[in-house]
């Protein structure tokens, strides 16, 4: 329906809905290939590298684990949507928590595609080319250290926890604990695990197809929800309000953090978006936008629910926001 055929008094409201619907479709269609790529990488990793091998030998030490995970981003260049299934596969296969979280939170920035796009967008700001990967790395380490303070049963989503325990040595979890989280604990294996025996050997192509398609469709439903939420919020929240506070050091950082959460664009292109308003905001706010978006945004909140429990997602959001705010403030002190 075009605006000309709409009744005049309904035009503003209908235009708003039509615009939100188009933004939603744009966000969703742009993210689907990356989600598919992530599920494909996760499936291939499971097929090519049988579990119980290298993945559980990754470092477990508090600081070394997130560093290793963060560096793995260079080998698996995907944006944040694609990283979720890969991180889930790592956790389900028994990878150390620190390594998987280090990968999940740092890889969306610490990968060749994102670093090249940041350089292409800001060739005249070399400090940003160093500060962005360094900041992403610090945030990932901070999140990893904070989240691993929680016991696994309070941290990981129920189905993932069950799958992870099935892939741990018997010396760590007994058969009773493996079957459904804690003995007497809530829930059973559902969701991504439903109907599939967890194999410790290489799966057959049929099993792999079955599990990957199930994983993709579950993540797809969450992506639909996240994209819808992001489109609605950004249609009804005028972006000019957020950028109006661009000159003040602290409020500009907070405003750009909110913008990053709402806009939900992929980390591979967010530098080009930031270029549009770089001149209107403080350097700390610019960096805050580039750091927070790849870790937390409305589109990701749904996807995170296949990895973590709501409390852990809330802790991730709060810790990442605090870390980004501090880094942004420090940059403003240095650059202003």
């Amino acid at each position: 329906m075009t605006s000309r055929s709409r009744p005049r008094h309904l035009i503003p409201a209908l235009n708003r809905f039509a615009t939100a619907w188009a933004i939603y479709q744009g966000l969703l269609l742009e993210a689907i290939p990356f989600l598919l790529l992530g599920v494909l990488i996760a499936g291939l990793a499971r097929w090519l590298v049988p579990q119980n091998t290298w993945i559980r030998r990754l470092p477990r030490q508090a600081l070394l684990a997130p560093i290793t995970g963060a560096l793995m981003g260079f080998a698996l260049p995907a944006c944040e949507c694609g990283n979720v299934p890969v991180a889930r596969r790592m956790l389900a296969s028994g990878a150390p928590l620190g390594t998987a979280f280090g990968f999940l939170f740092a890889a969306p920035v610490l990968n060749p595609i994102v670093m090249a796009s940041t350089w292409a967008a800001f060739p005249d700001q070399p400090w940003l080319l160093i500060a962005r990967p360094l900041g992403a790395f610090l945030i990932a380490v901070m999140l990893s250290l904070t989240l691993t303070l929680l016991p696994e049963r309070q941290l990981l989503e129920q189905a993932l926890l069950s799958e992870r325990r099935m892939n741990q040595p018997l010396s760590r979890y007994s058969l009773l604990e493996r079957s459904g989280g804690l003995v007497g604990g809530e829930g059973s294996q559902t969701s991504l695990l439903e109907g599939t025996a967890v194999a410790t050997d290489r799966p057959t192509p049929r099993q792999m197809l079955k599990q990957s398609s199930r994983e993709f469709l579950e993540l797809m439903a969450l992506l639909v929800l996240g994209s819808l939420l992001s489109a609605v919020v950004q249609t009804w929240l005028p972006r000019s309000w957020l950028l109006a506070v661009g000159g003040a050091p602290t409020t500009s950082i907070l405003a750009l953090m909110l913008l990053a959460v709402v806009v939900s664009v992929c980390s591979s292109v967010d530098a080009f978006l930031a270029l549009g308003f770089a001149a209107q905001v403080t350097p700390g706010a610019l960096l805050a936008f580039l750091l927070l978006g790849p870790v937390v945004d409305l589109k990701l909140v749904g996807l995170f629910s296949v990895l973590m429990r709501p409390r852990a997602i809330a802790i991730t959001t709060a810790t990442a926001s605090l870390g980004v705010l501090l880094i942004g403030q420090w940059i403003n002190l240095w650059r202003l």
Partner: protein
């Protein structure tokens, strides 16, 4: 609904969006091939699963959560197929700050009458003195962007990724007396640049010789 059918439905939806040209309205061109390939892969995987499926003697009981999730997901795919995107560019632009990437050199090399609206905006922002373009011929097209306290601009949206990051670029136009156009209407304007005082500032304004209503271009978004 079986998983294979749901995957095929989403694959078809994505492929349809690519094949029908809807992506021109939603995403930057560089992503179109990627989206089309993803749709094809989803459709092919769904078909493969459908043919490889072993016949089941007994129906498996569906998990309630999964049933509702799959139904919601399928409904959303059908809604995308049925309801095409029809954004109001004027509404979208009003919600976004103006800000374009650095001016590419090409904009300065092109003769004025070959510059697009976006290139004109880049040229004007990169030079402080509007008198340098005074009298230049203009041949541009764009949509009418409503302004709260001023006459509407003729504008284009630029995207780096998708509509979520669309950024408007607008040019002031000296509209004919009592003939202000409707917001969102697409117009082609031929005329010339003239320096006029707008709110006490010397500004380059498009003075039209002809204004023609045109349909929305097939690729309305610019890089």
């Amino acid at each position: 609904m079986s998983r294979a059918l749901l995957l095929m439905l989403w694959g078809w939806t994505v492929l349809w969006s690519w094949g029908s040209g809807r992506l021109d309205l939603l995403l930057r061109n560089v992503f179109h091939g990627l989206v089309g390939t993803a749709g094809l892969a989803m459709l092919a995987t769904g078909l493969l699963m459908l043919f490889k499926q072993r016949p089941r003697r007994e129906r498996r009981r569906w998990n309630d959560v999964r049933r509702w999730r799959d139904l919601a997901s399928a409904s959303m795919a059908v809604m995308i197929l049925v309801l095409p995107p029809e954004p109001s560019f004027s509404d979208l632009a009003s919600n976004r700050p103006e800000g374009l990437p650095q001016a590419p050199e090409l904009a300065f090399v092109l003769p004025p009458e070959q510059r697009t609206l976006t290139e004109w905006v880049r040229v004007l922002r990169s030079q402080a003195d509007p008198n340098l373009v005074n009298g230049n011929p203009v041949n541009i097209s764009g949509f009418v962007w409503r302004q709260p306290d001023a006459p509407p601009l003729l504008a284009r949206l630029t995207v780096r990724c998708c509509l979520a990051d669309a950024t408007p670029a607008g040019l002031p136009v000296a509209w004919p007396e009592n003939k202000e156009p409707e917001p969102d209407a697409w117009l082609a304007i031929r005329g010339q640049m003239e320096v006029r005082m707008v709110q006490g500032e010397a500004t380059a304004v498009v003075v039209p010789d002809t204004i023609q209503a045109i349909p929305r271009p097939q690729r309305p978004l610019e890089p």
